[in-house]
């Protein structure tokens, strides 16, 4: 508890900012969902034949995992708030649509007949009789949708839309830091409760004051929420640099920003902590980001869908650079020194107990151990697939999990080995042992700035600026910097600046 309070105090500002973002994203999505679904539901009551298929379609949208929807939207809408809102709206449609349709249809037919018989036209009947009577059912739909949206908004952080998901993701990334996760999750829950309460009041109010004032209130709400949104549309930066989830990419993009802003007049904005490799890459293709640090190994295996032809860092980089140029028309600048390759890691006790030095040593205990691998690692040739092939391993029990929680699973004893990144800070903190890879299964993973060719053509000076980092930052330096951010909670910008100053790349 005390720890939680400390975290809370330290992150008050972030909490306030992300809560506001969260509120804004959810409310805009909810309002758009209402604006779309209520009239659609009303229209459908007049065309019952098409109603079920259309409601069916909106039900299908609900079954698509939110991450998949986001991945699908990035090529069209890039990253940030827009695709997040689109995804959330799609999520929010079904309950509102279904409840509007059902609510209106369940109005006693005698009442509809009375209204018609008394000479009300269709609109009058709708506003005077059907809507007010169906209102509790419709509002129930809106409230369900609201809870869904507020909850799902946490994933918006994966594509740089902000919100409380940022705190939760940060917590997950920091080895499932329970306090950070709670700091994001509790306000999200409170937000849902608060909004539910507001909607309840609104519903009561609409009962008393009639449908017209309800619509008026709604419009005012839109106005209030949209206003800060319009403010935000201020000056566009010249360059947007994105980064994957985690401290390492965030440190690197801060270095890029510092260097570029030091030597040019360009303005740079950062989009750190973008969810998945695929998200960041399609954002780069789509143009909502201009540069991001990518690993040579990932470029080959994930983007080019190829195998590394060599295990020599230089050759791997060359293969990646050529491939990215040919296949995607992208420039891959010079890599830094550190090699954040995959490693198989285990606790020191475990290594001592079973005398584990190399990956091949696992063969002896393959029937007794449980592995905690990321989904990505489990599925790649330069991952577990290759381990099976090259080291002839068949591990009895494999649990796939998010990168951020592997280390706690390992320290809790739930798994015995994990896949790790060589430069991750918890290797220090948790005193983990990496197993040697004598067969060179894991190709080198060196970080280097990746950008579209047209970006480099527009700003040719970037090449020289960013290549200053070429060959810099060793594994150990990277680990130390990650440790400072993850465990000492230093700001990535400060850690990056200190490093650059010490290296003489920035004036003191």
């Amino acid at each position: 508890m005390n720890e939680f309070i400390t975290v809370f105090q330290k992150r008050q500002n972030m909490l306030l900012e992300t809560t506001l973002e969260h509120l804004q994203i959810s409310m805009i999505s909810l309002i758009i969902a209402v604006i779309l679904a209520v009239p659609l539901g009303l229209i459908l009551t007049r065309y019952p034949k098409v109603a079920e298929p259309i409601i069916g379609v909106s039900a299908v949208m609900q079954t698509i995992p939110s991450l998949a929807v986001l991945a699908f939207l990035i090529p069209f809408f890039g990253i940030g708030t827009t695709p997040a809102i689109i995804a959330l709206v799609l999520y929010g449609l079904l309950p509102i649509l279904r409840n509007t349709y059902t609510g209106i249809n369940e109005v006693n037919p005698a009442l509809t007949e009375a209204a018609t018989g008394m000479g009300m036209n269709s609109l009058k009947r709708l506003t005077k009789v059907e809507l007010p009577i169906a209102m509790p059912v419709i509002m129930a739909g809106i409230r369900t949708s609201m809870v869904l949206i507020v909850g799902t908004t946490t994933i918006a952080a994966l594509i740089g839309a902000g919100g409380l998901g940022e705190i939760i993701l940060l917590g997950l990334d920091r080895g499932a830091d329970i306090n950070l996760i709670l700091l994001g999750a509790i306000p999200a829950a409170l937000l849902a409760i608060l909004l539910d309460f507001i909607l309840k009041i609104l519903e009561k109010f609409s009962k008393k004051a009639g449908i017209k004032s309800f619509i008026l209130t709604f419009l005012i709400a839109i106005f209030i929420i949209a206003t800060p949104f319009i403010w935000n549309g201020n000056k566009q930066p010249d360059l947007v640099i994105g980064g994957k989830m985690g401290s390492e990419p965030e440190l690197l993009i801060n270095m890029y920003k510092l260097l570029i802003e030091e030597e040019t007049d360009l303005t740079v904005s950062l989009e750190p902590n973008l969810g998945k490799t695929a998200f960041v890459f399609s954002a780069l293709q789509e143009g909502s980001i201009d540069i991001f640090p990518e690993f040579t190994g990932t470029a080959i295996v994930t983007h080019m869908e190829d195998q590394a032809e060599s295990n020599e860092a230089r050759e791997v980089y060359e293969q990646a650079r050529q491939g990215m140029k040919d296949e995607f028309d992208m420039e891959f600048l010079q890599p830094m020194a550190f090699n954040n390759t995959y490693a198989v890691a285990t606790t020191k006790e475990m290594a001592d107990q079973y005398d584990l030095r190399e990956i091949g040593d696992l063969k002896r205990i393959e029937n007794e151990i449980t592995a905690g691998f990321t989904l990505e690692f489990n599925d790649r040739y330069d991952g577990y697939v290759g381990m099976q092939d090259v080291y002839n391993l068949e591990i009895a029990d494999i649990k796939t999990m998010e990168p951020g929680i592997r280390q706690s699973a390992l320290t809790n004893g739930e798994v015995d080995i994990i896949d790790a990144y060589a430069t991750d800070s918890y290797m220090i903190e948790l005193d983990l042992v990496t197993l040697d890879d004598p067969e060179n299964l894991f190709p080198p993973y060196q970080g280097a700035p990746l950008m579209r060719t047209d970006t480099l053509e527009t700003y040719p000076e970037l090449e020289a600026i960013l290549n200053q980092l070429s060959g810099k930052i060793t594994d150990e330096e990277m680990r130390q910097m990650n440790y400072k951010v993850d465990y000492d909670d230093e700001s990535p910008n400060e850690v990056a600046r200190t490093y650059l100053e010490n290296e003489g790349l920035l004036p003191n």
């Binding site: 006693n108 005698a110 009442l111 007949e113 009375a114 209204a115 018609t116 018989g117 008394m118 000479g119 009300m120 036209n121 009058k124 005077k128 009789v129 007010p132 009577i133 009962k207």
Partner: protein, 355 residues
């Protein structure tokens, strides 16, 4: 007032609900539409306010085809009372009553005055009831509101679709009485659908009995009962018919030995004992001979109900009564006839005597 001309309604599923239907509803009358379920009575009624449109034929109100009226304005001028009452549950009593006046753009003041007046008319104190919600009222009270809601904008025509069938018998009777009383004051043209023959008889100036989309008989209640046009009508009203509703014509007997010809009376050979009916050679009633005295005597029309006849009989000391049709003697009614008739219509079941 309302005229159906060769109206046919064919539903999509092929049911022919109303067939070649022609009818005129007179201004100010209450016409009850009655018949077994599925006879087309409700369809007929709903065609008047165009909730249902006829397949062929036309309906005229005040000589103008209802299709030529603006449909909403047409409906504003036709009050509509539903079987399900159908008060809007989210509106107060006053708001429910004010709906049509508001649509007709009456002023607030006018509307308010009107709804107070109507509430008083059906015996509900406006101060107590106007701000209540429908659910706070009893069924009978709710349908009173249903009726005054239909009356609110002072329409010329009121349609009532089995309005009291959902009520308990006591409320039903109270409301029927209310409607009777109300109709005496307001003189609206009312089309009243019911499946209850008693209600039809009680409220209808005329009854239109329908079966399979056609009119079987259209008549005033007493004629319908006394002269059912066929077996079906007889069956339909059968159980409803009290022995007291029988026409005296059908009870009376034509006993020759009780009839004296006027010519034979010339002279003084009157019979000094007993009662006789005197007719002329054309069988036209002349008077009564009672215990040797000729008198004018109390006479009874042949189509009078036994009930009404008994009223006449009550104040008279005659032993027998001439039953006349256009002044001609068609029968003689005595107390014996009446007793026999009543006895013949009564049954005894499990010791309970029923008429």
């Amino acid at each position: 007032m309302i005229e159906f001309k060769n109206v046919t309604k064919l539903y999509e599923d092929g049911t022919e609900a109303v067939k070649e239907f022609s009818l005129e509803v007179r201004r100010g009358e209450t016409l009850t539409l009655i018949g077994p379920s599925g006879c087309g009575k409700t369809t007929t009624m709903k065609m008047i306010n165009r909730l249902i449109d006829p397949t062929s034929g036309a309906i005229y109100i005040n000589g103008k085809n209802i299709k030529d009226y603006n449909i909403h304005e047409l409906r504003w001028n036709i009050g509509y009372v539903l079987q399900q009452i159908a008060l809007f549950p989210h509106l107060t009593i006053e708001e429910n009553v004010s709906i049509v006046p508001e649509m007709k753009k009456w002023s607030k003041k006018e509307t308010l005055t009107r709804s107070n007046e109507l509430l008083e008319m059906v015996g509900l104190d406006p101060a107590i009831y106007k701000n209540r919600m429908p659910s706070e009222l009893s069924g009978g009270q709710q349908q009173r509101i249903g009726v005054i809601r239909a009356l609110a904008a002072d329409p010329d025509i009121i349609l009532m679709d089995e309005p009291f069938s959902a009520l308990d018998p006591i409320s039903r009777e109270l409301l029927q009485n209310d409607i009777q009383k109300l109709q005496k004051e307001i003189k609206k043209t009312i089309v009243f659908v019911t499946h209850d023959i008693e209600e039809a008889i009680k409220l209808g100036d005329r009854i239109c009995l329908m079966e399979e989309g056609r009119i079987i008989q259209l008549d005033e209640p007493k004629h319908l009962i006394m002269n059912p046009s066929n077996e079906l009508v007889k069956n339909f009203i059968g159980n409803q018919k009290s022995p007291w509703q029988t026409t005296v014509g059908s009870i009376s007997t034509y006993k020759k030995d009780l009839i004296l010809s006027a010519e034979n009376l010339n002279g003084a050979n009157y019979r000094q004992q007993g009662s006789f009916v005197i007719v002329d050679k054309n069988n036209v009633f002349q008077g009564i001979l009672m215990n040797g005295k000729v008198m004018k005597g109390q006479r009874i029309e042949h189509d009078m109900s036994l009930y009404d006849a008994a009223e006449c009989l009550n104040g008279s000391d005659q032993a027998l009564f001439p039953v006349l049709e256009e002044e001609k003697l068609v029968g003689i009614l005595s107390y014996q006839n009446i007793v026999e008739h009543l006895r013949s219509t009564a049954t005894k079941e499990n010791g309970v005597i029923k008429t």
